[in-house]
């Protein structure tokens, strides 16, 4: 089953990272990716640019509104995500603990919905 591991983090924490912090984080990301590529569970890893670059679009009653900023004004933002193909939730929980942000932010694990075939439409 595919799981999305969504990384939530207060952005100022990452902005204030030292060179050494950044280097350590990258090492841990690399180690997680090497491990999961080796056992064929790795599907995707992406870091998102800061929420200051976000644009939110919605349409209500035919009127489109385009807004500056992320969907929710919260302290912690979605800063990146991984997708793994795991045999069960415990394996996903194990990988979540390999993501450096687990120490300062939170990792939300969400199974990716799967349909045998999409409804015709």
């Amino acid at each position: 089953m595919q799981y999305a591991l969504l990384i939530y983090q207060a952005e100022e924490v990452m902005e204030n990272w030292s060179e050494a912090d950044l280097k350590e984080a990258l090492t841990r990301h690399r180690s997680l990716q090497e491990k999961t590529k080796a056992n064929n569970t790795f599907l995707l890893a992406n870091e998102l640019t800061p929420s200051g670059t976000a644009t939110t679009v919605k349409r209500r009653a035919g009127k489109t509104t385009i807004l500056d900023g992320p969907f929710a004004e919260t302290k912690e933002h979605l800063v990146g995500l991984y997708v793994f193909d795991c045999k069960n939730l415990d394996e996903a929980i194990e990988y979540a603990q390999g993501i450096p942000n687990v120490d300062t932010g939170s990792i939300e694990i969400r199974p990716i919905a799967h349909y045998e075939s999409l409804p015709a439409g």
């Binding site: 089953m1 045999k87 069960n88 939730l89 415990d90 929980i93 694990i109 199974p111 045998e116």
Partner: protein, 272 residues
Amino acid sequence: MDELAVSLKTAYPRALATLIRLLSDIDAAEDILREAIARALEVWSREGVPGNPVAWLVTTGRNKAIDLQRRYTLEVRHSTTVRAEAGNNVTGESVTARPVAEAEASQHFDDDLLRLIFTCCHPALAQEVQVALTLKTIAGLTGPEIARAFLVPPKTIEQRITCAKRKIRDARIPYEVPTAAQVSERLDAVLAVTYLLFNEGYNASGSPELILTDLCIEAIRLARMLSRLFRAEPEVTGLLALLLLQRSRSGARLDTAGHIIPLDEQKRALGS
């Protein structure tokens, strides 16, 4: 309770735990077990309770599952293979039903019971959900009985259990005994559930009898099993000791009419 009812109550959690492993689905296992129990009531009252009630229920349930499988699929790959429907598969593994030999049965049943307990107490489920689910599956309590123990409406309990089963299935919470590393974060919930299970037997809410000896025995059996597995954990030993101490007074707690006797009037000689 007569012998037949006691045997069924005692066999229920182990039979359910094994059927869940064989069928990879809690709801399917509960449905199948309900049918097997209906059959047991018929056969056992005629021929007596079999030597190994759990094995009897599992074998009957497994055969019913194979019948259902035959009815719903045109092609059965192998006559003894029960494949769970893709969407209902808890572990994601295909499942092979094996004949349940009496000799091998009891160890498997213990392992399955442990799998069931730790799945129900998985940290990805909220603690009140863990407890409700465990009382439903392990203790075989009904929604209203659990609701009374928690002082919430029965509907709330049913919703908690339904949500829990959906999460177990959709997020694929594994049906496995946890690794040593996972034990520390999960054992507390298992102990809390064991304690509540004993409590329900010690001071029964959903039964005309005040003490349900079976539930107490089941809770103590669980505590013993946990203490065998987690010898180094003082909390487990402590809980087992507490349950045994309370259980030892059970012969002295009620008078012949079934009313409670206050502690200072209980006859110590009736302790066991």
